[in-house]
Amino acid sequence: MELDFRVPTQHQVQRDWSPYSMNGGTVLALAGEDFAVIASDTRLSEGFQIYSRDYPKTYQLSDNMVLGCCGFHGDVLTVTKNIKSRIKDYEHLHRKKMSCAAVAQRLSVMLYSRRFFPYYAFNILAGLDNEGRGCVYSFDVVGSYDRETYRAGGSASSMLQPLLDNQARRQNTLRGSHLGKIRRKTGRIY
């Protein structure tokens, strides 16, 4: 009887180069009755190294709109550059200012166009809608988006979002988790 001493070997080639890298950063946005707030940290890093201590993740797109964008910095730069360009195109073509909703839609289409090699950027758009009310749109890497009252995105999003859920929405409290108006001064809802 022959004993089989063959050992199964791995024939897969493991590639260790990635086109992406994580440069960190967190963005937070909140919409109120007649205002919107957007904030970000200012650290740019890779692994344990710091690239910059003063590099905000917020990009002003127009008079009434700011885009918070973080993740892979290479794609962040491209996404912000391209969306700014598209806004200019729109304003020249239609001779009117591009609304928040329109920018959100345009950004979604841009992100989905790279469905199979995504822009590794977490976007949150904050501004005022056509009625003058605050609006916040949040996106995933491939362009799925929704209008929300508040959203945290980026590396610390899992730490910020629950606080917002509790404070801005009264989640997990007796008074119930219904959406309410956010007061400008205190940020509390009543």
């Binding site: 890093s45 344990f48 190294q49 710091i50 590396s155 409290t173 007796l174 008074r175 205190t186 940020g187």
Partner: protein, 287 residues
Amino acid sequence: MAGAVSVEMPRGGFSFELCKRNAALAAAGMKPPTPVKTGTTIAGLIFKDGVVLGADTRATEGSVVADKNCAKIHYMAKNIYCCGAGTAADTEYTTLQISSELELHRLETGRKPRVGTALRMLKQHLFHYQGHIGAYLVLGGVDITGPNLYTVHAHGSTDKLPYVSMGSGSLAAMATFEDRFRPNMDVSVKTFKFGISRKSEKEAVQLVRDAIVAGIFNDLGSGSNVDICIITADKTEYIRPFDVANEKGERTGDYRYARGTTAVLETSVRKFEVTSETVTSAEPMES
């Protein structure tokens, strides 16, 4: 023969029994739990009268800070301390184990423990486990032969040097040392006040503090405060924290919950009346 039971003696060394199970689980798609790593800056140097050890106080679990103020300078003996980088549990338990063995050895020999003894115990323990115990240590102390400073790596290799650094912030710390270290620096072992670094500090402690601070501010795996341990022939000073380099930010809002935030479904109050009190002494166990 009938009635004979063969007892399998426990074999020494690492038990690899669970490795097959872990591999199967990983293949099924389960992610293993991430060990807490002390992405760290630890450093030490030898000065005229002894050894100064320093460490930061951040412990990380991936990209989350697991502990903002953990103690990385471990007690080995009254005259020997050990800083640990790498897997937190490994550094903790390895130093505890060798500290215990060292104490037994001290009682056996009747002599003050030597740093070389601790070193030999540590490296033989780590080599035995072939690097699977992720402990990267800076061992320092003063014994009858004088001040001694060593580094120990997880696989069991050691180095004897006048100044050392380990951990993810070791490059930042070493850059500081290479710039300013001189042999036989002076430090007067004064009592340093909590959290205040005074201008009158002497060179060696200041240099170690600066090396750790370089790691804290330039390495994301290190952070929070600086702990220092100064060991000389006659005494040891363990100062924790030596320098509170990062104060926790103060909250500007008040997030306390009003009464009624949590629903009270039922309230029941039961009164307990103390009728009598008796004291009984514990009985010693029968041997």
